[in-house]
């Protein structure tokens, strides 16, 4: 089986299990298992399909025809697509595993349907990555949105429904923008095939229009600020493994699309596109994390954090595009390396965190962090996995988040060194923003972990929680391991991703790793060795413990638990750190930015104008009846009643009619 066949198998497995799940609506347990196992199998097949391409760097494509005369179903598994398929499959495999237990929560509430939507959702994403035709691209793009929409509204309460509405609407509007971009390309090339788009050489203004349309279209999907408003509402509403996929993978589809159109199809010909991407990325990163910090709801926090991370990824993409546009392939590769690396990393740790949040929800039935606490002891595995995730997302070395952010930093530094004024200015600014982001992210996840897992339980549910089922802990564990591996094995992973990036840039591969170190193209600029850091980090506390253990052996044994010291007062609930309290200083500091969020919210304005339109339409609707049809009817009837006067009963007058007619006609005849 070659990669494409495996890929096909993967998609068929997803779809097959999805459809079977529909048929098993009466036996939900079977449906759950079917979907879970099917998804896992499909995920594995997807991994198997993508790995050879990733490792070899050689893509493949096939043309499958299709019924539509204007669009052929072309499949192209190039390195970028393979990378994305890999990420999707990876997360899909694990979430499928997770779902085996998690979905039981939904038994009796249509778990079979959830399985159907879930697997369809994944299948659509996989297919979306590899189609090489604008038409089918949009088809799968919309199918992805559609399937995930149902995941969002699955709970059927008002909040979920309205979140779903917002989500799907923005996604659809985005897809229409994308459609517009594709149509322009189609108009110029005469074909819907991406291949023909790649051959095009558009004029700069036209290309810019295409790019901007695509950027905002995909940006809506990626959740860049200001098109992000659906994200913090939709992701929490979905079931957690769905949120994991949406947040971990689906938003990346947006990024993928930006890369696809901006670099793959248009060739990133204008440098300012990169600046745009960079700018939006930076803003999204900072604002995303700020908003995340202010959240009390665990899943909303994670969702805002996704906005932040997408911002970071886009910063990398932006740098990559600038590199390509300004003819600095090394910079381009570096930027894309950072972006893609962060992409997979974010998928892993955000997936992990959402699964963790899901496990907590599964046991405690709440997402409100104010009501949690002390779960570290009750759910140790979950806590451990979440700790890894939180550390990774906070970019603590040697975990994966650090590596990719490091590459991004390096690319920004490289950019600042050279090129036009704008770029030299943009680089440092972006670096600063990235740094702020990093700091706030760390704070944010301290809050996340601390409020949920540390301290004492704040609610009955939380107090009686216990460890999640095995499938779920295994899934989280796996992700945690992958997060660690991606960090530690950076020297192995980075070259693979570099190859993808360089294939995008169209330049020879850049050396970014040697032995146990990775470096941004030039080892002289900077080097990083995550294994070494890991060893050092592990070594330092162990050394300390060893020392303590050796010298203060008996004291350790005498330690005993008791209430925390509260200046001598009794412990009270309100003394504990609350979610609000934790982020209060930050909220104060960035008050203006928070206020901006509500000030810029277009919803009230839209609502008002909608009301006006409705009122207008209500008035206009009967107008046809009143102003057009009724008058016509009335006039006809009026004429009728007037004409009736002719026939008023006196036959003598009737005789005169005859005479009159005769006279008139005689006059005509004589004249």
């Amino acid at each position: 089986m070659n990669s494409l066949e495996l890929l096909l198998l993967s998609v068929l497995l997803y779809m097959g299990s999805a459809l079977l799940s529909l048929l098993c609506s009466r036996v939900e347990r079977t449906a759950i298992n079917l979907c879970g196992i099917g998804g896992m199998a499909a995920g594995v097949a997807g991994l198997a399909a993508s790995l050879p391409v990733l490792l070899s760097g050689h893509g493949m494509s096939a043309n499958l025809g299709g019924p539509f005369a204007f669009a052929e179903f072309t499949v192209r598994l190039d390195p970028l697509a393979a990378f994305m398929v890999f990420v999707i499959s990876l997360l899909a495999t694990i979430t499928s595993l997770y779902s085996l237990s998690y979905v039981r929560e939904y038994e009796g509430r249509g778990a079979w349907a959830m399985g159907f939507f879930m697997n369809t959702f994944i299948a659509a994403m996989v297919a979306l990555m590899v189609v090489d035709n604008a038409f089918y691209f949009l088809v799968f793009f919309e199918m992805m949105s559609l399937a995930s929409y149902f995941l969002v509204v699955f709970d059927q309460h008002d909040e979920a429904v309205s979140a779903g509405f917002l989500y799907f609407l923005i996604a659809h509007a985005g897809s229409v923008l994308i459609m517009g971009a594709f149509f322009i390309l189609y108009t110029c090339s005469g074909s819907m095939a991406f291949e023909s788009f790649r051959q095009l050489h558009l004029s700069a203004p036209l290309a810019s229009i295409v790019f901007l349309l695509a950027f905002f279209g995909f940006g809506a999907k990626a959740g860049i600020i200001p098109l992000h408003s659906w994200l913090p509402r939709a992701h929490p509403a979905a079931p957690s493994h769905g949120s994991a996929l949406m947040s971990g993978v689906m938003v990346k589809v947006g990024v993928f699309g930006i890369i696809k159109v901006g670099i793959d199809l248009l060739g990133a010909t204008s440098a300012w596109w990169g600046l745009v991407v960079l700018g939006f990325g930076a803003i999204s990163a900072v604002l995303g994390v700020l908003y995340a910090l202010a959240e009390k709801d665990a899943k909303r926090l994670l969702a805002y954090s996704s906005v932040e991370n997408v911002g970071i990824i886009l910063m990398g993409v932006g740098v990559g595009m600038i590199g390509i546009a300004t003819g600095r392939p090394a910079l381009g590769i570096l930027g894309l390396l950072g972006a893609l690396y962060h992409l997979i990393n974010h998928a892993v740790f955000k997936g992990l965190l959402f699964l963790g949040a899901g496990s907590i929800l599964f046991r405690t039935h709440t997402k409100d962090m104010e009501k949690l606490g002390g779960l570290g002891r009750l759910m140790p595995y979950t806590a451990a996995a979440c700790l890894v995730g939180a550390m990774a997302i906070s970019a603590l070395p040697p975990l994966n988040g650090f590596v990719s952010e490091w590459f991004t930093y390096q690319s920004l530094f490289s950019m600042s060194l050279d090129g036009g004024f704008a770029f030299r200015l943009a680089g440092p600014v972006a670096v600063v923003m990235l740094a702020i982001t990093g700091a706030l992210a760390a704070m944010c996840f301290v809050k996340f972990y601390g409020l949920i897992f540390s301290g004492k339980a704040r609610s009955e549910h939380a107090a009686h929680a216990h460890e999640a089922p095995a499938a779920m802990t295994w899934a989280m564990g796996l992700l945690a391991l992958i997060a660690i591996a991606l960090g530690l094995c950076a020297p192995l992973v980075a070259p693979i991703i570099t190859r993808i990036a360089s294939s995008l840039v169209g330049h020879g591969a850049l050396a970014v790793a040697q032995g146990t170190v990775v470096f941004p193209g030039d080892p002289a600029q900077a080097t990083l060795s995550t294994p070494l850091i890991a060893i050092l980090l592990l070594a330092a506390p162990i050394l300390a413990i060893l020392i303590i253990g050796v010298f203060k052996g008996e004291r350790l044994g005498r330690r005993h638990g008791g209430p925390a010291w509260a200046c001598g007062y009794e412990q009270e609930d309100r003394m504990r750190v609350s979610a609000d309290g934790f982020s209060k200083p930050v909220s104060h500091m960035f008050d203006a930015l928070f206020r901006l969020r509500s000030a810029l919210d277009p919803a009230p304005c839209l609502h008002a104008s909608l009301q006006r339109v409705i009122a207008g339409a209500t008035r206009v609707e009967p107008m046809w009846e009143d102003k057009v049809i009724s008058p016509i009817v009335r006039v006809v009837q009026w004429i009728g009643t007037k004409v009736q006067w002719l026939q008023h009963g006196d036959f003598r007058i009737y005789c005169l009619y005859v005479v009159a007619a005769l006279v008139v006609f005689l006059m005509i005849a004589v004249a």
Partner: protein, 216 residues
């Protein structure tokens, strides 16, 4: 006095008699006057027959004599004599106005016929004009009178006018035609009379203004 002159003068007499028919108060007197008029008509036929050497017209005059002078007036005299409805008496136009209208009609008819150029009737144009005018006079009777019985007479007058025209212009037509026309007119009169009687019986009126229930 040539035949044509006689014809033309008699035709003039027709107008006078028809005005009398219209003006008569009682239906019986109208019937009698109508018989008188028909007599004049028969005389015209005879005169024409002599003038034109048309044997057909003798036959016409005989049939006319039988039907119009005897039969029709008799029928009307008998059938209408008993019908009275004082409210229905009267006309839209008073007698002087009626005369004026008649004059105008005659004049107009003459004018219209002025443009007609048929060799057969050049010398009988006045008679032809009168016949046309007579026809319209009948119509005038129908239109102006309030009594439906008068309208029967109006029809008869029209009929006479038309008959005269026919005699002037189409006397060569087969006799059967004339008989057909005569039969038609008799039947028309009979039927009208019957209906008038029925109306009088059912509605107790002869007033045209009462016959305006059907409208719109």
């Amino acid at each position: 006095m040539t035949g044509t002159l006689i014809v033309n003068n008699l035709a003039g007499l027709l107008i006078v008699t028809s005005l009398m028919v219209i003006g008569a108060k009682r239906p019986t007197s109208s019937a009698l006057l109508y018989a008188l008029q028909s007599l004049v008509l028969v005389a015209i036929f005879l005169a024409l027959a002599v003038t034109k050497q048309a044997e057909e017209l003798y036959l016409w005059s005989i049939t006319s004599l039988v039907t119009k002078v005897v039969l029709v007036p008799y029928v009307m005299y008998r059938a209408l004599g008993s019908l009275r409805d004082p409210e229905a008496d009267g006309s839209i136009l008073s007698m002087p106005w009626m005369m004026l209208a008649a004059a105008i009609t005659v004049l107009a008819s003459f004018l219209v016929l002025d443009s007609v150029r048929l060799p057969a009737i050049t010398d009988l144009k006045p008679a032809l004009g009168v016949s046309l005018a007579h026809f319209f006079l009948g119509l005038l009777c129908i239109v102006t009178q309030r009594n439906i019985l008068k309208q029967i007479f109006g029809y008869c007058l029209m009929e006479n006018g038309a008959h005269l025209t026919l005699a002037l212009m189409a006397y060569k037509a087969p006799e059967l035609v004339e008989i057909g026309i005569a039969t038609d007119s008799i039947f028309a009169v009979v039927i009208m009379t019957l209906i008038a009687r029925k109306i009088h019986r059912t509605l107790n009126t002869l007033n045209v203004n009462q016959l305006t229930a059907l409208k719109g």
